[in-house]
């Protein structure tokens, strides 16, 4: 426990001093504000930039608050994931490569404590980013849109999204435990985006997967998801996450020997 708090303190301090603590949430907040604004002012924006013939009218579908959340979620699924993976791809591999890990590995640390301290710090930052980002979006959405989802529905949606982000962060850290930084980023992003492609192709048949979570979560905003499918997807995600953590700890221990001396 003592070691865990020491290492977690080290991770959080590193996040602050490398500015990660600021820029990762800020990117989420930025898109959280941009997305509702863009849709609200889209007609004006198009009018001012486009040289449309006189009298041409836009038939833009009326956006609801739920539509904006869905669109923002789409943004976070690309840029947000990219930012998280890039922010944490070097968590373990970087310490091996630079040799800073060496002086930790020669001390009587347990590798599960080592991995989990990094995991906790990364999950905390991902949660903060997610909630601040959607919080920012919510403050704009309630001001700019007529129909908005209720608070409880948004909270349930965010809980489901949190499970998805835990999966993303775990995958990134385990990749970083197993591979050098570049390979870790490639593997994590590859798995995430290939998973999304597979989901869009055969998702109708494969209803219990981590890639389903954001879709199920969004359903809270317009109605409610099929509870059996949601529970299944959450269960499968939890199982994969635990297995990834265990594998990551093993890899961290095994690859300690590769740390630069």
């Amino acid at each position: 426990m003592k070691q865990f708090s020491l290492l977690l303190g080290k991770e959080l301090r590193e996040q602050a001093r490398s500015f990660k603590l600021f820029w990762v949430p800020l990117v989420f907040i930025f898109f959280g504000a941009l997305e509702p604004l863009t849709y609200h002012f889209l007609p004006q924006i198009l009018e001012s930039v486009g040289n449309l013939p006189e009298g041409a009218e836009f038939m833009l579908p009326e956006m609801t608050g739920a539509d904006v959340y869905a669109s923002l979620t789409g943004q976070y699924q690309t840029i947000g994931l990219l930012v998280l993976v890039l922010a944490f791809m070097g968590s373990l591999s970087g310490e091996r490569k630079s040799g800073t890990g060496t002086l930790l590995y020669v001390r009587p640390i347990s590798y599960s404590t080592y991995y989990l301290s990094k995991w906790t710090a990364a999950v905390l930052l991902a949660f903060a980013s997610l909630w601040l980002g959607y919080g920012m979006a919510a403050t704009y959405i309630v001001q700019l849109y007529e129909t908005v989802p209720g608070f409880t529905d948004v909270a349930l949606f965010l809980l489901v999204m949190a499970a998805w982000l835990i999966f993303v962060v775990t995958l990134t850290l385990t990749a970083s435990a197993a591979l050098p930084t570049g390979g870790a980023a490639g593997a994590a992003l590859g798995i995430l985006f290939i998973g999304m492609m597979i989901d869009s192709l055969v998702g109708t048949y494969w209803t219990w997967s981590p890639w389903k979570l954001q879709g199920y979560g969004l359903m809270y905003l317009t109605g409610s998801p099929e509870s059996g499918d949601l529970a299944g997807a959450l269960g499968v995600t939890a199982l994969i996450t635990v297995l990834l953590i265990l594998f990551g700890i093993r890899q961290a221990r095994k690859n300690a020997a590769k740390a630069k001396v």
Binding site: S18, F19, K20, F22, W23, L26, V27, I29, F30, A33, L34, L37, F41, S48, V83, L86, A87, G90, G94, S98, M136, Y140, Q143, L144
Partner: protein, 69 residues
């Protein structure tokens, strides 16, 4: 519509947070760059990327531009 009218029409109350975030990200990146002065690629290139590419510029700097010593 004159430029001043157009400017007046912009809902600044809604937009200033976006501008503030841009500036904070840019400033943080430039401070860090100034402190470390070691990047992947020429430093001056990163100064331009940070200043001229909105939002993504500083993020690119923090993720791939920064060299870990």
């Amino acid at each position: 519509m004159s430029i001043t009218e157009q400017l007046a029409e912009i809902p600044w109350g809604l937009i200033w947070p976006l501008i503030a975030i841009q500036l904070v990200l840019m400033t943080a990146a430039l401070i860090d760059l100034n402190r470390k002065r070691s990047t992947n690629g020429p430093v001056i290139l990163w100064v331009f990327i940070i200043i001229f590419i909105n939002t993504i510029g500083p993020v690119l700097y923090f993720t791939v531009g920064r060299r870990h010593s």
